[in-house]
Structures are given as C-alpha cells and as structure tokens.
Amino acid sequence: MTTISMTVDGVRYDDDVEPRTLLVHHLRDRLGKVGTVVGCDTSNCGACTVLMDGKSVKSCTVFAVQADGTDITTVEGLAARDGEMHPVQQAFHETHALQCGYCTPGMIMSAVDLLAENPDPSDAEIREGLEGNLCRCTGYQNIIKAVREAGQAMQTATAASPEPATSDAGNGVPGQQPAATAPGGPAHTTAVGEVRT
C-alpha cells in the first residue's frame, strides 16, 4: 500500500492504495465519483477523461499513485455549488449533444480542457481537440456545435466580468500555458477544506 493525497473536485482525500490501482477505479470505487465512467479500458475512447492539474488525462491510463499531490477535476466538480451548470454542460444540454450519454462526461472534460487553451476554436480545431474522445451515437455534429456555443458563452461571460480576461493565454502560443485552475472561472469553484481518510 502507498499513501496518496489528492484534491478531487475541491475536497482533499488521503488514502492508502495498491500501486496497481488505476485512477478511474480509485475515483469511482473508493471516492464514489461515479460520474467518471470506463468506456473501453484500452485508452482509446476518452470516456474516463478528468483534469489532472488542469490538463485532460485518461484516468484509466494513470495509476492513482501517479496522481499523488495533484488536483483532480471530474465532471462532478464542474457545476457551481448552487447547481448552476458549467457553460459546457449547459451547451451540451441545449444543443442535444448526446444520445446514450456514455461518452458525455469525457467529452465535456475534454471540451473544458480545449477551451481553456483555445477559447475560440474553429470547427476543425474542435474536431481535432476532441480526437481522443469517441462517440458511438451522435455522429459528433451536435457535440461540435455545443463546444462552439460554450466557447462563445464563456467569452461573453469573461468580457462581462470585472476580472482581467485570461483568454489570451494558450491559443497555441509556444511556451504559454493557460491558467490551470478551476474550469469555468471563480464562479464554479467548490469549497475546499474537508479531509477524508
């Protein structure tokens, strides 16, 4: 057993894990974060995507021990405390970007990751940005539309807020990393502090 400590959706967890435990199993089976699903278990489908220190990763292809000391965001951590959905969730809802919904948690996390780096992607950039996520139902059309609309909504919200805009970060500029913090900006951070062992 190895002791690891990570923050998941704003809550810190300390646990003993077997080194062979995959992050997705730790999240689902130990922490009850069942919003993150296993689709293929072969690192191809992206259904298990979460953010690790702000960057999208396939949680079926990371050992929990590798995530020691990191900050994880799952699809369960996107909405605001009062239940207000994240703009990407809202856009998936409004544009009917899902049918069975199995790929959706991963699609949403990949879209959040993409928009943090490239706030105004072209349709081609969205398709390429989501190449690690497979959908067997929708034909992708409405997913592309949802990401485009979420990007626009997030830009409008950023422009309207008094906070300094962060939208010039990333966008493929070499060496520039966008803010790797809470997706969706301050309005969507969850309270931190609870410790579970």
Binding site: R20, L22, T49, F63, Q66, G132, P174
Partner: protein, 284 residues
C-alpha cells in the same frame, strides 16, 4: 483489466533511479508517462515486479540549448515539446510530428523519451530521431554513455537500453538552413501511422546538397532511406528529380501486413509519402 500487483518507487534523481533498478533486478521496469506501458500492463502483456516512476526527477524535464545542439529531457511530455519555443525554432520537425501523436490526453502525459525508449516501429518519434541523427544519453550502473540513433533502435519494442538503464536525455543538432517535414498516413479514428516519413533537406539555390529521410512503420525499427538520400545528393531541386529518387524509398524495408494495410500498400505509401515529405521539406 487490472494489472498484476507490483512494488512502486518514485526516486528523486537519476542515480537513485538507476540504483533502484539495479537492486530490484531484471523484472523491474521504468514508468514514464505510462501511455504505452499502462495499456500493456492492463492487458497483462507485461508483469514487472516493480515500477520505478521517473515522474519526480526534475533534471529529466525540459529543453535546453547546448552550442549547436538541443538537449531534450526524456521526461518532457509531448505537450511540452509541442509548445517549447526552442524546439519550434531549431527542431520544427519534432514539433510537427509530435502534433500528430495520439490525442490531447495522451500528449499531456506521454513523454518524448518514453516514446523513444518504447521503440515501437509505428511510433512517430523513432523515425524523427533517426532522420535527425539524434544521440541518446543513457545512465546506468557503470555511469553514463551515449548511443547514436542508428544503434539505439534494435528491433520491435527493443532498444539498446539495458533493464537497469535510464534514458536521461536526447541530443538533436539544430538544423540551421534545412527544410523539414513529417508526412503521415493514418486512419481517422486512430492516430497511429500506417506509414510515416520524416524528411530534412538542405538546398543551395537550385541544387539539393543533402537529404535525410527516415520511415515509420516500414520494418521492425525505423529505417533510413539511404537510396533516396544518395540519389538526391547534388541533384537538381525539381519535382522530377525528387520523384525519381523516391523510386528507392522502399529499398531495404520489410513492411508487415495487418488489418489496416497490406505490405504492398505500405510499400506504395512509402513511395508517395516520401515524395510529399521531400517536396514540402525542399519547398517545391
């Protein structure tokens, strides 16, 4: 599936990593980004007794200039390589090929060194390193050694690394005055190359002075297309002479047949993709 149980260690430095590997014996394995190793562990194609995680070794991270070379830390992720200004300026071939590797999630974790140490003939980095005449800097129990790209790749999933050795960094020459291009053909749903071609060309006005060409997935390890290189040395920089040289592209290759492509089709692709890669690299 769940991997076989293993011990886990996360050393803080290269020497400690080598010591841990030496102490643990042949069944220990290095863990870098895990993007090739974890899928293999999950399928139980591999069952190491211990994983030595290089994730906390700062000195294996990042890119620096050293005279006429760039030195790329083995643990630099594909994503970091892609965004690195030194690589974009002095080794754009690496950046261009890295952009075609896998997807965002895999590029966030997978490492430059891991994709070389893995020595997958379908991987994009091995042929790029071969075309660039990269040098591999390796640490082992008896100290450090350097291995040329032509010696590093031995066979399918087999490199010159011993079980108790760590690939620390990779040295690539800055190619001033060269044009480069990576041309890759893959199915839409999978980023793995059916065939890929890494090309670098140095021109003097209307003449090609030197060309370097390496092929992805045309044998059990990356192959230099020497026939093409020889045909182009001193040749006129025209579409006709490039096309004629590409008749040699598949010489000395041993492509496999699988569900995605037959060996004959791969041979055809090698010829076509080499021409495209050279035209882009030479600006024709």
């Amino acid at each position: 599936m769940i991997p076989v149980a293993f011990d886990y260690s996360r050393p803080a430095g290269v020497d400690e990593a080598v010591q841990t590997l030496t102490d643990a014996g042949e069944d220990a394995k290095v863990l870098a980004g895990g993007q090739s190793l974890i899928p293999m562990l999950r399928l139980r194609f591999a069952a190491p007794s211990m994983l030595v995680d290089l994730g906390s070794i700062g000195e294996m991270h990042g890119v620096r200039e050293d005279g006429d070379d760039l030195v790329i830390g083995a643990m630099t992720t594909h994503d970091e390589v892609l965004k690195n200004p030194l690589i974009r300026a002095h080794a754009p071939l690496i950046a261009q090929a890295t952009a075609t590797v896998a997807d965002r999630q895999v590029r966030h974790l997978g490492t430059f060194g891991g994709s070389l140490a893995h020595a997958d003939p379908a991987g994009d980095m091995p042929s790029v390193a071969t075309a660039l005449d990269a040098t591999f800097e390796i640490a082992g129990p008896s100290g450090r050694r350097s291995v040329a790209a032509s010696e590093f790749f031995v066979d399918y999933l087999t490199s010159a690394l011993e079980p108790d050795e760590v690939l620390v960094s990779v040295r690539v020459p800055k190619l001033a005055g060269w044009g480069t291009h990576y041309e890759k053909f893959n199915r839409v749903a999978q980023a793995w190359a059916l065939v890929g071609v890494a090309a670098a060309v140095r021109r003097n006005n209307g003449t090609i002075e030197e060309a370097r060409v390496a092929l992805t997935n045309m044998a059990s390890k990356p192959v230099r297309a020497h026939g093409v290189e020889e045909a182009l040395a001193g040749a006129p920089a025209t579409a006709e002479s490039l096309a004629a040289a590409c008749d040699h592209a598949a010489e000395g290759t041993e492509p496999t047949s699988d569900a995605s492509a037959s060996a004959d089709y791969r041979t055809h692709l090698a010829t076509v993709l080499t021409r495209r890669a050279l035209e882009s690299a030479a600006g024709i």
